[in-house]
């Protein structure tokens, strides 16, 4: 088994309203930054073991599908790396 670290980026789908983004945009404007648009998302960094890269990628995608993202309003992307801190 190899130690992997996957970062799963979860964002609201483009057409879905993001009230948090709207509030942050307002706050940034109040700070004097002329922002056009703000969208907010989550990133989940998971350290885990897998047999190989294919297995790791598959596991990370399953996490996104089954738990981390709500497919009705969110989409996610996986970024995979070796876990240098552990292996």
């Amino acid at each position: 088994m190899t130690a992997f670290v996957a970062t799963i980026h979860v964002r609201p789908k483009d057409e879905v309203r993001d009230p948090q983004g709207e509030a942050v945009a307002g706050a940034l404007r109040a700070l004097g930054v002329p922002v056009d648009d703000v969208r907010t998302g989550k990133e989940i960094v998971v350290r885990f073991d897998a047999a190989d890269e294919t297995g790791a990628l598959e596991a990370a995608r399953r996490m996104g599908d089954q738990l981390l993202a709500n497919p009705v309003i969110e989409r996610f992307e996986v970024q995979l790396g070796r876990d240098g801190m552990r292996s």
Partner: protein
């Protein structure tokens, strides 16, 4: 000038059968639209009719029946028809309330569906000028052992908690049912209660020609599920993701600002008329406000602040973006309106004005895009008579509805059975759900969730209000009429159990397909049952909501009439509860004894006498505590009293000829209330019961730390744990 100016649109010339169908109108309805207008509508106009004449907005199948409900009474200040109903609670104060369903959006996205359901009902209340003081919710889910149900519970409860907590309205009560039939179609009904001085009521019927119209709150985007069917007819580029309508996402923060700003302006007298935006968005709000006011309105869609680029006029008209209100300014107060909304950091866009010509004149920049009579949009839909279809249904007898008694064998270990019933998802404490709701914000909650009814004080006064929400889907699945009667009886009985006099109810009807014989019959029987119960109990219906076409896999849900009841508590400090029991108090059963065949007929006369008796006993200071017999029967009722009071009891079962022990313990016959009374008071209590012609039996006494009822002996600790942990266990949250 012709009342219908020429309107842009290529379809205007020749009739097109596809567009009306695609916006959900039948050929008959489309014909009626053409007849009313005397011309062929353009595409946008068809879409507006499609939305406004949908079942959701127009009550086509239920309106005739709803008219049979009693809606007037000495305390009724506002009956059905407005954004919410209102009763007079004395001292110049009105209590405004309504329940509404958000089932279909919650089935698609439980969290946002439930959250926006709360948002919608809040807007209905503050559109009346009332400050919301409490929320309640009635929910129904599938089998709690299923993963999908568990996700739905988490999502729905999470959404309610997210929205209500952020806006800062306490959630004080609710009702939860579980049955497989709700698996694909959970029910999410939200109720809100508000208070307003009688002279501070706002309305959508008070706009006058010449006044400015503002659209306030969130920007308008492509949100809204109702849009989905419409989009097809406008053939937007398929696969263009950004143009697909999307799930409505709630922003409780904006709702809170909207609430405060609207109440401030209404309180200052700057608002001439106001209407919230809900289903069918701007289309519905503009046409309803104009129709109710008997005026016309001219609006310019180009002035509507948008969140998305490139929105077409029909998208702007039909968007269901949340947290928006339509506000008509009192002439001369426009600056004040703009100033106050700006201070609350909200957009207020002046989008048009009220006109005298009875036309909703929609423009997009310079171009006229729709021109329709608002009254025809709002009230012109046909009403369907479902009587013949209902008559064609042959009701089949279904199984007994008392789920617990039915499952208990005569030789079962009744100790085990009582624990099983107390821990069952139908009976177990809902605390695991409601502890995620703020129950106390506002500092008016005298009794919150977990009691028969919640009690709210009114600051500066001795009196207060009580609220309860209930449903009887199991009884209704066998007999919708009896189920509806039982739901009204239970909701009002729950008020009586805290010492409140029932004033009025709101009803939220969740039913299946009214175009099928059985659905039509269930709808008719449900409304008839509510009407009969309300007339007998003297409580009018002041508001309500109908949600049809609820089904899982083509099978309709059980007819589910959710009843929200509001009552008056003369002295909140001296409320009646279930917890004030003392050792040595007698255990009494007032009203009916548990029987097997209660579903054959409900004795409304006894229910009325029982409620009057318990209120009289409370007023005379003869009852220390009360709790009604409901899910889980007498065993659950007495156990719950013991748990709440932290005290045991030793009681016998009422002897009923022909009734088994299981029936005596678990039958859910209505019209029964367990009372606690000091031994010194029971003589007078018996006299009072006789006066009211209500049977009253002494079953035993409270005291000790054992729960003993007939053959059952359990420790207080055991019943408390079963009741406390049952729901968490059923939902798989603890092992």
């Amino acid at each position: 000038m012709s009342p219908f100016p020429v309107v842009a649109g290529t379809e205007a010339a020749q009739p097109n059968q596809d567009i009306p169908r695609e916006v959900g109108l039948t050929d008959f309805e489309a014909g009626r639209v053409r007849e009313l207008l005397g011309r062929e509508p353009n595409a946008l106009e068809w879409a507006m009719f499609g939305a406004m004449w949908s079942e959701h907005c127009a009550y086509k199948h239920s309106r005739r029946l709803l008219r049979t409900l009693p809606t007037s009474g000495a305390r009724v200040a506002v009956g059905p028809g407005e954004n919410a109903g209102a009763v007079d609670v004395g001292g110049g104060l009105l209590c405004v309330f309504k329940a509404e369903s958000h089932n279909h959006p919650s089935a698609v996205e439980p969290f946002q569906g439930a959250a926006t359901g709360v948002g919608g009902i809040l807007r209905d209340i503050f559109a009346m000028g009332a400050r919301p003081v409490a929320l309640l919710n009635a929910l129904a889910f599938g089998d709690p052992a299923e993963g999908s149900t568990r996700r739905a519970v988490r999502g729905v409860v999470g959404g309610i908690s997210f929205y209500g907590n952020c806006v800062g309205i306490p959630d004080v009560g609710g009702h939860v049912s579980f049955a497989p039939a709700y698996g694909g179609n959970p029910l999410v009904n939200a109720m809100c209660v508000g208070l307003v001085p009688a002279d501070g009521l706002a309305s959508a019927a008070t706009a006058r020609p010449g006044s400015a119209v503002y659209l306030v709150g969130s920007d308008t985007g492509r949100d809204g599920i109702a849009g989905a069917s419409l989009l097809a007819s406008f053939e937007l580029g398929s696969g263009d993701d950004a143009k697909r309508p999307s799930v409505q996402v709630g922003d409780p923060f904006v709702e809170k600002l909207l609430l405060e700003a609207c109440l401030e302006l209404i309180g200052a007298g700057a608002v001439e008329a106001i209407q919230d935006l809900g289903a069918a968005g701007l289309c519905c709000a503009t046409s309803e406000l104009a129709a109710r006011s008997g005026t016309g309105m001219r609006i310019d869609l180009a002035a509507v602040p948008r969140r998305a680029r490139g929105m077409a006029p029909f998208e702007v008209m039909l968007s269901e973006s949340q947290e928006r209100m339509l506000v008509v300014a009192r002439p001369g107060r426009e600056d004040e309106i703009e100033r106050v909304f700006a201070r609350w950091e909200l957009h207020a866009a002046r989008i048009g004005e009220i006109t005298a010509d009875q036309t909703l004149d929609v423009r997009d920049g310079g171009a006229a895009v729709a021109s329709l009579p608002p009254a025809k949009l709002a009230d012109g839909a046909p009403e369907y008579d479902i009587d013949a279809l209902a008559d064609s249904y042959r009701a089949e007898r279904r199984d007994a509805a008392d789920m617990f008694r039915a499952g208990v064998r005569a030789d079962a270990d009744m100790n085990e059975e009582v624990l099983r019933v107390l821990a069952s998802p139908e009976v177990a404490s809902r605390r695991v759900l409601y502890r995620t709701y703020d129950q106390m914000v506002g500092t008016d909650t005298v009794v919150g969730p977990g009691a028969d009814a919640a009690i709210l004080r009114i600051k500066g006064r001795a009196d207060g209000i009580a609220v309860a929400i209930d449903a009887q889907p199991r009884a209704a699945s066998r007999d919708p009429y009896v189920g509806a009667v039982a739901a009204v009886a239970e909701a009002t009985r729950n008020l009586v159990c805290v010492g409140a006099e029932p004033l009025a109810i709101t009803d939220c009807l969740n039913l299946g397909n009214p175009e099928r014989a059985r659905g039509a019959w269930e709808l008719r029987e449900t409304v008839a049952g509510i009407g009969a119960a309300c007339r007998a109990l003297g409580v009018p219906v002041v508001s309500g909501n109908v949600s049809l076409y609820n089904a899982t896999g083509g099978i309709d849900i059980p007819p589910t009439a959710v009843i929200g009841a509001v009552g008056h508590v003369p002295d909140v400090a001296g409320y009646l509860g279930a917890a004030a029991v003392r050792a040595g108090d007698e255990v009494l059963l007032a009203g009916s004894v548990p029987v097997d065949d209660w579903l054959d007929e409900m004795d409304l006369g006894l229910e009325v006498r029982l409620q009057r008796f318990v209120l009289a006993a409370h007023r005379a200071g003869l009852a220390r505590a009360a709790h009604d017999r409901a899910e889980g029967g007498l065993a659950a009722a007495l156990a719950e009293m013991c748990i709440r009071a932290g005290i045991g009891a030793a009681a016998t079962l009422p002897a009923v000829r022909g009734a088994s022990t299981a029936t005596a313990l678990f039958a859910e016959s209505p019209s029964g209330i367990v009372l606690a009374a000091a031994p010194a008071d029971t003589e007078l209590l018996r006299g009072l019961a006789a006066e009211h012609d209500v049977p009253l039996r002494t079953l035993g006494a409270f005291g000790g730390d054992a729960f003993a009822l007939g053959p059952v002996t359990l420790s207080l600790r055991a019943i408390a744990d079963a009741h406390a942990e049952g729901l968490e266990r059923a939902l798989g949250r603890i092992g």
